[in-house]
C-alpha cells in the first residue's frame, strides 16, 4: 500500500511538473494556427517575437504609413484603386518593410462583413453584432445610411441588429422608422425596436401610435403595450398620465410595472396619484407604492448630501 501511494504520488508530481513547465515556462508553442493567421507573434518585455518553423525570432517593425489620398484627388474620395494598392504592397514588401498602418475601416467593409455574417447561416447573437457595430470609429452617419439602404436585402435578425444600432448610435431616422412603427403585420421585434427608438428620440407623430398600442391592444402581442408603457415616459402630459393610470389596471405584470415606472418618473405628487392609490385594485396600488418607495429611497442619500452641503 505504501509503495502504491508513493508511486502514485510520484506520478502525480511528475504530471503536474510537466504541466507547469509546458504551459507556464513557455515550452508550449502553437505552430498550427488556423489558415487565416499566417504567423504567430508574442510580446516579451519590450521585444516582439515571431514564431517561425525555426523557432522564435525577434521581430522588428518597419512600417509604412498609408493615407487614403493621392496627389490631385481629395483624400475623402478614396480615389486609389485596388490594383494600385496591390502594386504598392508589392513595392513596400520589396523595400523590406513588414507592416502598413491604416486609419479607419471603410463603411463598405463593415457592410460587406455584416452581409457575410448574415449569409453564413450560423447563429450570431444580435447583442454581439450591435455592440461590434458601435465600436466603429469612422463616419457613423454614412454607416447608418448604408445600413439602411441595404435594410431590405438582409435577414430579419440582421434587420433588428441594424435598428438597434440606429437607436444606440443616436442617428435620427424618424422619417424611415415611422412607417415601420405604423405598419401592422411587420415583424414584432422590428416594431419593438421602433417603439424604443421613439422613446429615445421624441417625435409627436409617434405619440398617438404609442398611446393606441397601450390603450387598444387588440390582437397584438402584450409586449406592444408593455414597451409602449415604458416609452411613454418620454412624452409627459395629462393625456399620457391618463393612459398610464388606465394601464395600471392591466392584467399583465409587465404592463403594470412599466406603467408604474413611467408614472413615477413624472414626479407626480401623492395627490395626483390618489385615484390609483385609493382604488380597489390592490395589484395597481402595491406596484405603484413600491415604485414610489424606491424612488424616495434613491433620492434620500442625495437629499442628505444636499443638506450636509447646505450646513457647511
Amino acid at each position: 500500500m505504501k509503495k502504491f501511494v508513493i508511486v502514485t504520488a510520484a506520478l502525480v508530481v511528475l504530471c503536474l511538473g510537466w504541466d507547469a513547465a509546458y504551459y507556464r515556462l513557455g515550452w508550449y508553442v502553437d505552430l498550427h494556427p488556423d489558415e487565416e493567421v499566417a504567423s504567430l507573434m508574442e510580446v516579451r518585455g519590450e521585444e516582439i517575437i515571431h514564431w517561425t518553423e525555426d523557432g522564435p525570432q525577434p521581430f522588428e517593425i518597419r512600417g509604412v504609413n498609408m493615407g487614403s489620398g493621392i496627389p490631385g484627388e481629395w483624400s475623402t474620395d478614396f480615389a486609389i484603386d485596388k490594383e494600385t494598392y496591390l502594386r504598392w504592397f508589392g513595392q513596400i514588401q520589396a523595400m523590406g518593410a513588414n507592416v502598413v498602418r491604416v486609419y479607419t475601416i471603410n463603411c463598405d467593409l463593415v457592410l460587406q462583413a455584416l452581409r457575410q455574417v448574415d449569409g453564413s447561416g450560423r447563429f450570431h447573437h444580435g447583442k454581439l453584432l450591435t455592440d461590434g457595430l458601435l465600436t466603429f470609429s469612422g463616419d457613423r452617419q454614412e454607416l447608418t445610411r448604408m445600413l439602411w439602404d441595404s435594410f431590405d436585402a438582409v435577414s430579419l435578425s440582421m434587420q433588428t441588429v441594424i435598428l438597434d444600432y440606429i437607436r444606440f448610435s443616436g442617428s435620427r431616422m424618424d422619417e424611415e422608422l415611422l412607417p415601420l412603427l405604423a405598419e401592422e403585420g411587420r415583424d414584432d421585434e422590428l416594431r419593438f425596436s421602433c417603439i424604443r427608438y421613439f422613446e429615445k428620440h421624441l417625435d409627436p407623430r409617434a405619440y398617438p401610435l404609442l398611446l393606441s398600442f397601450l390603450e387598444h391592444p387588440g390582437e397584438r402581442r402584450w409586449e406592444y403595450a408593455a414597451i409602449s408603457a415604458a416609452a411613454l415616459s418620454a412624452y409627459p402630459g395629462e393625456r399620457t398620465v391618463l393612459a398610464l393610470k388606465w394601464a395600471m389596471g392591466s392584467a399583465s405584470w409587465y404592463i403594470r410595472l412599466n406603467a408604474a415606472r413611467s408614472l413615477t418618473s413624472f414626479h407626480l405628487t401623492y395627490q395626483n396619484l390618489g385615484d390609483v392609490m385609493d382604488s380597489g385594485d390592490r395589484y395597481a396600488r402595491e406596484i405603484l407604492q413600491y415604485r414610489l418607495d424606491l424612488q424616495q429611497a434613491q433620492q434620500a442619500p442625495k437629499e442628505q448630501e444636499r443638506q450636509e452641503v447646505a450646513l457647511v
Partner: protein, 311 residues
Amino acid sequence: MMTDGMMEVIEVFLHGVGVFFILYLIGYSTFLFLAVVVGASTLYQTKQQTLLKNVLEKNYYVPVTIIVPAYNEEVTVVDTVRSLLALDYKTYEIVVVDDGSQDNTSQVLIDAFHLHPIRQPIRRQVACQREEFIYSSTEQKVLLTLVRKKNGGKADALNMGINLSQYPYFICIDADSVLQYDSLREIVRPVLEDDHVIAVGGSVRPCNGITLENGRVTKYHLPRNLLACMQVLEYDRSFLAARILFDKFNGSLIISGAFGLFKKDVVIACGGYDHATMGEDMELVVKMHEFCLANELPYRIRYATSAICWT
C-alpha cells in the same frame, strides 16, 4: 456428491463475478479514458483559441440575477455578498433569501450594507412560502435585495428568489462558496454563442490550498493532506473530463446547486424547484430536459469549463 454440486455452483458464480468485473473494468476505464482524451483535446482547443484571440473577450453581457439561499449563515453571508459585489460584470442584481434562519442572518446583512425596508410586490410564478419582510439597497454597485421568508428548505428559498428576480437569467449559488471575479462573464458566454441554451453549469472546485483575494486566485498548490489532495483530483477529473464529454452530446444531467445559470422562463414553465426531493438541482435539470423534449423545443444544456466557483 452434494459438495461437488455446491462447488460447481460456487465455481460458476465466481466465474460470473470474474467476467462481470473484467467487463465492468474495461467499460469504466474506457469511459474514463475517453472522457480524459475528449476533455484534454477540448481544453487544448480552448487554449489555442485564447492564444489566437478567437474568443469573446469584451464586456458583452446579458442581465443576470444571482440568488443566494441562506439558512443560519450569519458567519459567512456578509463575505459572500461582498465577494458577489466585487464581480467584474455590468448588469446583475443580488437576491439573498433568508430561509427562516434562527440566527441573525438578516440582521447582519441589514447592518453591513445599510439596507432599508421596502414594500415590494412579489410576482408568484412558482410556489413558495410567504415572505416576512423585504429589505433592499440602492447604494451598492448593483441592486441588493434581502427577503426573509418562513422556513421551507433550499428549493423553496430558490423559488422565492426566482419570483423576486427581475432579469431573464438567474444563477443559484451556495451561501458558502466564492465566485471567481470573471465567472459571470464566462458562464453567460454559452448563451451568447447559442440562443437555445437554457442552462449552463459552472465548474465547482474545492478551495483547499487556494489563496483568494477579491475573487482572484493568488496562490495555488495541492493540499498537503493526502485525502484532500485526492478530493481535488477527483473534482478536477469530474469537471475537466467527464462533464466536457457529456457536454458534447447535450447529456449534462447535473448542474451543481453550487453554481449554475438558468433561463428563467423555462424554469418557471417547469414549475421551478421541487420542495419534496433532496437533490433539487438534478431534479430541475431532468425536468428541463423532459419539458423541452416533450414540447419539441430545440434546447442545449451547456457546461462552462472556465466559469469557476470555489467551494
